[in-house]
Each structure stands twice: as structure tokens, then as C-alpha cells.
Symmetry: C2
Amino acid sequence: MGATIKDIARETGLGLATISSYLNGRNVREKNRIKIEAAIEKLHFEVNETARGLKTNRTRTIGILIPELNNVFCAEIISEAEDILRQKGYATILCDCRTDPAREREAIAFLLRRRADGLMVMPTGENGEILKAFLRRKRPVVVLDRKIRGLDADCVLVDNEDAAKKAVDRFRAAGHTKIGLITGPQDIYTAAARRRGFQAAMADAGLEVSDSMVVCGDYTIQGGARAMHKLREEEPEITAVLVANYEMTVGAMIEINESGLRIPQEMSVIGFDNLEFAKAIAPRLSIITQPTREIAREAVDLLLKRLSGDAGRPTQTVVLPTDYVEGKSVGVRAEEVRTGLSNRKLRRG
Amino acid sequence: MGATIKDIARETGLGLATISSYLNGRNVREKNRIKIEAAIEKLHFEVNETARGLKTNRTRTIGILIPELNNVFCAEIISEAEDILRQKGYATILCDCRTDPAREREAIAFLLRRRADGLMVMPTGENGEILKAFLRRKRPVVVLDRKIRGLDADCVLVDNEDAAKKAVDRFRAAGHTKIGLITGPQDIYTAAARRRGFQAAMADAGLEVSDSMVVCGDYTIQGGARAMHKLREEEPEITAVLVANYEMTVGAMIEINESGLRIPQEMSVIGFDNLEFAKAIAPRLSIITQPTREIAREAVDLLLKRLSGDAGRPTQTVVLPTDYVEGKSVGVRAEEVRTGLSNRKLRRG
DNA sequence: TTGAAAGCGCTAACAT
DNA sequence: ATGTTAGCGCTTTCAA
């Protein structure tokens, strides 16, 4: 087996406390430091973080619990969060619950047994009860991209209402009045918020939104394709559509392409999240992007702050702005052109 | 703090060994079992895996070390591996080294301090020295999607040569003779293997491959766009191109769209990896897909087998097949049509 | 099957 | 600054 601090103590003739002091960055006499470092080198010593964790009751481990790793929005956040965490000495235990509340519950118990110091979570639903188990044990929780009523935890969100409004405003400026929305399940905070923002913006503009102009998909590719199909069937008058996450944007594009519909001549589209994807499409897709790196940074920051003392501070919610990135997927509707935004003639959708 | 087995022992009047036996699924008298379960419930007891890990010298933790989480191929493998591992009681510590050998080295040390039982790794380069630190400590390593000379570890690969050959054969069947390849850095096993397969298939077909018909990108989106640009500049005669990973496929598509080149009339394309992306593009992209879920399953399987005893068994390499999925991005070259594969007339590229 | 006791590798008093 | 000692929560002999 590997060497322990006892071996280092014996090798150097020093006491355990000295070795421990050295390992924890406290002051050690210069000549002892040299001896210790030589012994560590010689014996290939490596701190046993497990033993340390048992003693200190802090594992320097953070659980990240998400609904789906194969979701670029999640993956980008995790990638950034893990990077920062590891630099600070924290390990990231990943738990992908596949949008399954049962697995989510099991993962929480799993992380609790592992004594994860804290949790970053993008919950599957609105039920915060499962997460309270963490809070009860005085372990901080940061909720990503959701807000859960009755759960006293820090949150990091984007301004979803505003994101939807930006899209609606862009469509309106191009003369669209029959605008559809494909959003996610209404028990997911972001999906509901984007719907609210959409409806508010439409109302502000004096535009009507019938029930069938809003379709709730399931945030998957297949769901996006189905939603697009349904929207076109029930509301053939629609000339523009906002799709409220990346996976459904891909699905909607598949459906649009398969039905032979031309963008932007017959349908204007604003998608979500993945800039690179948007650029790879022809014509280039206009999209709403979310600041995934900032979300991760804020979340890690909140978590580490709680971990380093100020656990009593009231919980806070950080709201970050989204961006609209112009592509070529929003066409001007000839009948209502007022500005010179585009000069292409459009066929009635 | 939380309850310990001592608390359970006191509460039930039983000894520690009995509680431990219960927790580890060994036989306990029925009435004691009931008492123990009641006490666990009452005191909200949860096994402390940290203590267990210290005692048993097995943390039930697997490190997954990858070059980039924002790479769908990696993300899909991790997602599946993590799922299986957690079901078996193993935690997954994720380390994304951002294709940086220094971070990769640091991550290995990190996982060693954490006493990860095993490692699944997609190395950045060909140097296996870093990984040997793991092997020296008798901890199993499974190398994903790479083969590293001089490293005695299990591997899971796909048949990259054959993948390239499939693409070349498909292009040839459509009459293409000037075929380009955009592959990755040559110190990455898969990239080199795809190149070899490409060149072998071209040679078999009696087709010439000049140096500038093969461009080595860096497996990123930007790199794919640059590579496509370079290819077109240096080899304007090319009528077909194989792009050997997903990110570069996206990049190549961006470049193609920006240059106004039409697919498949002016350029035939076969991409890699992401089926959903391929379907969302118009015209739908033909691609080579890799069996990410099987890769993950094989890798986990190899790792767990080593962990459960048969550590002495010679290392093995599992090679999985790829698939070619037909889209509409391969056009027939009129001049050389021999079969009736397509009936579209094509303009000379 | 169960109980008592030792000890995994480390940190943190406390004493020097 | 350093040495001594106890103990974190668990598993695992060894006896009974």
C-alpha cells in the first residue's frame, strides 16, 4: 500500500503534527520542510483524502445533480463548474438522473451517504422536498436554472421572461403577428417563465395568443419535432416560432426540413442556446443564448461562500441576462413591413 | 451531526458487528433486523461512505478523465457510464482537462489522493506515463477511444479504419474521385487511425491522395471551419469530404454555408457522430456514428471486472463497429455515374 | 449470529 | 514549532 504520514514521521524523525502542519500549509522549520519533502518524494507519499474527510467531516466534494448530461446547456455549466471546483480542491461527483424523479431522489441519498459538502442541482420538477434532506444536514444547495417555492436555497437563473420578450419583439419588428411558442413542461420553472414572458410580450403588443399557439414539449429533440408538427397542424397561419431550448430547436428544425418548409420565407424561427449549432444551419439561425459560464461561476461562488463560514446569510437569487444573436432565420412579412430591416419579399405563410 | 452505527447499537442494545453485518447484507436475526431498521428510521442514520472507504481502502469511486465535456461523443459516454456505475454503488468523479496535458497530469494526482478505485480515461496525447501512476498503485485503468503503446491497460475502441473506409466507399459509389479528409491531430489515436483508413481505402480504389487533401484540424468547431477553408483553397478540385468528428463537422458546415457552397450539388459531405445534428441540417447529413453507449458499457464492465478480483487477467482491447447513416449530403457525380444510386444531375464542383 | 476490541490515516487539541 | 494522544465512523478479526 501507499505510504502514510506515519511513514513520513518515521523517515524524518519528526512527529505527526509536524507532517500534518506541513501538509496543511502551516509553518514548518525550513530544514524540516526539506526533510519532509525528501521523504514524501522517496516514499511516494500522497495524502489520503478519505482519511482527511473522515477526520474533518468535510469531504471537499460537491455533488452536481442534473436532469440530462446530453443537454448542451447542462454540459456547459458542468464543464465550467467542475473546472473551478477542482482548482479549489473540490471533487465533483456527477449524477445524471435522466429527468427521473425517482433517480433524483436516490441520487440525493447517494450524495448524502458520500457526505458531499454541497450540492448544485437542476431539479426535475417543482418539488423541493427531496432537496430539503440536504439542507437539514446543514449542507448548502444551489439551485440552477430553477426557482423552487418553499425551498430556502441560493438560486442562479437567467431572465427567462425577458428572453421570450426579446424574441417576440424581434418577430414584431419584422412584421409578424401570428407567432407560436414551443416551450417545455410547465412544471419546469424556466419553461413556465418563458411562456409567461411570451404571453406578456404578445399582450403588450396587442397580439392575440390562442391556446394552440403555445405548445409544451418535453425539452427533447423528439418532443421539439412533435411540437412543431402539432403547431403547424393546429395553427397553419403562424409565420414565426420561438423554440425555448436547444434540443427542441433541433427537433423543430428536423420537422421543418422534413416538411419542406423554407426558412425564413415560409417560417421565421428563433431558437435557443447553442450558438455553434445556429451557425452551422443554413440559413443561419437567430437564437437566444444563455450565459452558461457565468451561471456556473455564480453557482460555485455561492456554494463556496456558504462552505466557508457565512452559512447564516440569507439565501439569494442571482438573475443573469440572456442575449439575442441575429442570424438569418427571421424574415420580414411583406404585408406589414414598416422598416427597411430586410429587403426580401416573402410569400404568405 | 448525523447518527452513527454506535447510536444504532445503543438504540437497539446490539453490538457494532451486528449493525455492520446488517448494513453489508449479511445475515441478522429477524427480530434484530426489525429493531435495527426501526432505529435507522428513527435516528435518520445514513452510512458514512467516507469512514467505510478509509477502513476498507476502497472508495467505490471511479474517476472519469476526458479532454472535453463539451464534446458530444464524450458526454454520451460519460452519461451512460455514470448511470451504470451509480446503479452499482460507484460514484463518478468527473475531470475535464480541457485537452491540456498539464491539467490531465494534475487530475490524475487529484484522483490518486482521492483514492479513486479505478479510472476511465480518454487521454489527450500518446504519452501513457502519467497513467502508469495509477497502474503502479494497482488501480485499474480503462482507456477509451485510444490505444497507447507501452501502457498495459484495457481499451475500448471503435474500428476507425473501417469507419473511414465506409465513407470512402460511399463516395466512390457516387462517382467521386477527388475526396478530401478533415481529421484530428495525429498524436490522437483515433485521428491517425481514421487517416490511415482513409488512405488505405483510397489506395485500394486506385485513387490518389495528395498531402493537401488531408487536413488535420484540432477536433474543435473553429478548427473544422479552418480546415474546410484550407482544403477548398488548396484543393479546389475536391468534390467530397469526410469530416472525422462531430465538432469539426459543425465547423465545416459553418464554413460551407458561409462560402455559399451548396450541398450536395457542389460538395458532398460525410460527417461524424451526432445523428440528431445530422437530421436537423438541410439537406440531411450522411454520417458515421459511433456506439457510445456500448463503449461506455464495455468500459464499465472491464473496470468492474478488474475491481472484483481477476486483476491478473491479461489486458484486453474491445473493438466496436461504427455505422454509416445515409442522409442527403452525398451527391452523384454525373460524369462517372455507373449505378442508379441517385438521379440528380450535378454541376462540376 | 453476535459482542468486544483494534485500527484504517488523518487532524486537532494540548503540552512542551 | 513540534511531539503526544485521542478519536472521526466504520469493518473485521477473534471469541463466545
